[in-house]
């Protein structure tokens, strides 16, 4: 600081001023960054870190290398064509005895059971029956005698496939893919291949809800945008109040309304429309109704702000040029609402595909979306690898859509000034 000051005093006055300004600006930028930094560090710990951790879980393959290290080492130069040699059998026998002593046999069992059904009992029975370390040269015969599965190439391929440190097993599984004995990627067996269906269902529900929100949101947004300010502010309460009401309250209310003894069924029976109560909840219909209700404000609000910015002069100009009201609406008004339609639809779709609570409470078993399976594998079966892999796919889809949304909304801000 002092040196700079002294140097500044000697030099011509213009340069130090420029430099001082620059330095002041740099200090200002530094201070600005210092204000943002605490939040970034906080999010690193409470948000980015945890999500990175989840992504790591989807490729992390620690169980087998940690509990059967010598087997993994012995299999590293196995060609995979025939049964491995005596060395690998001896290593496995040693590892299993060590694992049994440490009480960790369950760890590789669980991981390998995902690959070959029944691996759990193979490992358990082998560890139990392996009383002593086999004599040198007899490990192969001993193990095959205890459990014939050790004479099967697939058993060893499963261990080699789970040797870590990283695996594509869970990510492939999330897309209904798996590797065959030769390591090529093939379709998963039919009884395990459910996730493409779940993703398709998630996107179908998301798309359906988006379309419903658009159909219901458009007239409301149009009305609110074209009423005098006082009245539209008043009616806006009908949109904002549900928006601010707890998701749980709204979901609970829909169950009360739609259950077989509920308000809607009672009303329809009273009117004589039906004799038997209709099944309106714990099925796809209930999911669509409840989710559309929750997400409708997210459609109405962007549509409203877009429509509010459309000058009525355009419609008058179209009419004066001889366009019929329908033509003017279709060719002049509608195209101008497209940015709002796009923003609202993307927003609703992004939020809808991540839904968990509403489908879990008002849907049936066949209406659960991808989030349900992520939660299920995390807390119920504790298959964190698969839960994380499904999460990674959902996250990727969400982020891609969010980038498109960001571009769309940003573009609107740029061209916003041209509309009026």
């Amino acid at each position: 600081m002092t040196a700079a000051f002294v140097a500044g005093a000697d030099a011509p006055t213009e340069v130090p001023l420029k430099r001082r300004l620059k330095r002041a600006e740099r200090a200002r930028q530094f201070k600005a960054l210092a204000l943002v930094l605490p939040l970034l560090l906080f999010l690193l710990f409470t948000f980015l870190g945890p999500i990175a951790g989840m992504l790591w879980h989807s490729v992390d393959d620690w169980e087998v290398p940690k509990t059967l290290p010598h087997t993994v080492a012995a299999l590293s130069d196995w060609n995979g064509k025939d049964l491995p040699d005596e060395k690998a059998f001896a290593a496995l026998a040693g590892d299993l005895q060590a694992a049994r002593a440490a009480g960790t046999v369950a760890i590789p069992s669980k991981r390998l059971n995902y690959v070959v059904n029944g691996f759990r009992s193979t490992l358990a029975s082998t560890a139990r029956n392996l009383k002593t370390v086999p004599e040198p040269g007899t490990a192969k015969d001993t193990l095959i005698a205890i459990n014939p599965a050790w004479g099967d190439r697939a058993t060893w391929a499963a261990i080699k496939g789970a040797s870590g440190p990283l695996t594509s097993f869970y990510l492939l599984g999330a897309l209904d893919l798996t590797r065959n004995l030769d390591g090529a990627i093939v379709a998963a067996p039919a009884e395990q291949a459910i996730y493409r269906d779940v993703f398709a269902r998630t996107f179908t529900i998301g798309f359906g809800v988006t379309v419903l929100c658009l159909i219901l949101g458009f007239p409301v947004a149009y009305l609110l945008a074209n009423l005098p300010a006082g009245r539209s502010n008043l009616l806006m309460i009908f949109v904002l109040l549900p928006f601010w009401t707890s998701l749980l309250v709204r979901t609970c209310a829909w169950i009360v309304l739609l259950q077989s003894e509920g308000v809607v069924n009672d009303g329809l029976r009273w009117l004589g429309v039906i004799d038997e109560p209709l099944r309106l909840i714990y099925n796809r219909f209930g999911v669509y109704v409840a989710m559309t209700h929750v997400l409708l404000p997210f459609m109405i609000l962007p549509l409203y702000s877009t429509m509010k910015a459309i000058s009525p002069a355009y419609m008058r100009a179209a009419a004066s040029l001889g366009a019929s009201p329908v033509t003017a609406f279709r060719r002049i008004y509608l195209p101008q609402t497209l940015p709002g339609v796009g923003a609202g639809s993307l927003l609703v779709f992004i939020l809808a595909i991540g839904y968990y609570i509403t489908p879990a409470l008002v849907g049936g078993a066949a209406d659960q979306m991808i989030s349900y399976f992520i939660a299920f594998y995390t807390t119920e079966t504790v298959n964190w690898g698969l839960a994380s892999a499904l999460g990674a796919v959902l996250l990727l889809a969400t982020l891609l859509l969010a980038v498109v949304y960001g571009k769309l909304v940003h573009g609107q801000q740029v061209t916003g000034g041209m509309k009026n």
Binding site: P242, W244, T245, S246, V249, T251, Q259, L395, L399
Partner: protein, 277 residues
């Protein structure tokens, strides 16, 4: 604006009437759940059906006398207030910084700061569950407060940044030129002017935490169950009228928040209208 909807032809009038009728039906759809559940909470009967057998406050009494519901209300308040304060401090500082920061990385930083809104709740919850469990933050107030702060801060940043955009930075410069230290300038000049924006940010943050259930579902132990979490298990098991009482209490909180927000917005618009320029 009112000239906008003065229909000139019959077909235009018909279209406008259709819009009004359709919108009315959609408004009913939007309000139906809230309106349907309210009277049921005052029912004297144990079934959630109409007509009500009679009026009573027994379900509210039930709510107030239930240690489980009261604990959940207390937990919601503790976690809500704590995460609001924390997210206000972090979010306001970041907004002040972002308003002055010029860098090509700014869009990236903004995207990171806002990302907790976009990422599906289950992904955040699962990530936090994996991350916090080994360090003992699951089943604790601290873990939930940290998680809710992360979810609430984007709303603070959005609201406060919007307020700062309309704030004239020359006022801060004037304060500095008159000898105010940055801290004094912030406290005496900037803060009073952006206070309504801060208040809306705080309301948003509180509402976010007060409503959140997915993260709580994964991370809360029995001692940290919040009101929405208690409602979740209540709905799962069997909807008793006590839940409707809880729902009405939650809705009342929402109405108060919304009314405060609306009041702040109006006040802000009035202030802007009165300021010259």
């Amino acid at each position: 604006m009112s000239a906008n909807h003065s229909p000139r032809t019959t077909s235009q009038r018909a279209a406008w009437i259709t819009t009004v009728v359709a919108s009315t039906l959609i408004f009913i759809f939007l309000m139906a759940p809230i309106l349907a559940i309210m009277p049921l909470s005052f029912s004297s009967g144990a079934y959630l059906t109409y007509p009500l057998p009679g009026f009573s406050l027994r379900w509210y009494q039930d709510f107030l006398n239930s240690p489980r519901w009261m604990l959940s209300l207390k937990n919601s308040m503790i976690i809500g207030v704590a995460s609001t304060i924390l997210s206000m401090v972090l979010g306001t500082m970041a907004s002040l910084g972002l308003a002055q920061w010029k860098s090509k990385f700014k869009p990236l930083v903004l995207a990171i700061v806002l990302s907790p809104v976009v990422v599906p709740g289950v992904i955040t919850a699962v990530g936090l569950y994996f991350f916090f469990a080994p360090i003992g933050l699951t089943g604790s107030y601290a873990g939930l407060i940290l998680a809710h702060t992360a979810l609430a801060t984007p709303f603070v940043v959005i609201t406060v940044s919007a307020t700062l955009q309309s704030f004239d930075m020359n006022l801060a410069r004037a304060a500095a030129s008159l000898g105010a230290s940055p801290l004094v300038a912030f406290r005496r000049v900037i803060l009073p002017l952006i206070l309504p924006g801060l208040a809306s940010g705080a309301l948003f943050a509180f509402a976010t935490s007060f409503d959140e259930v997915v993260v709580v579902l994964f991370m809360a132990g029995p001692e940290q169950r919040t009101l929405p979490r208690e409602m979740f298990s209540g709905i799962r098991e069997n909807i008793s009228p006590t839940i409707t009482a809880a729902a009405v209490i939650l809705t009342t909180v929402s109405v108060i928040l919304l009314a405060t927000m609306e009041g702040l917005r109006r006040r802000n618009e009035r202030l802007k209208g009165n300021l010259p320029g």
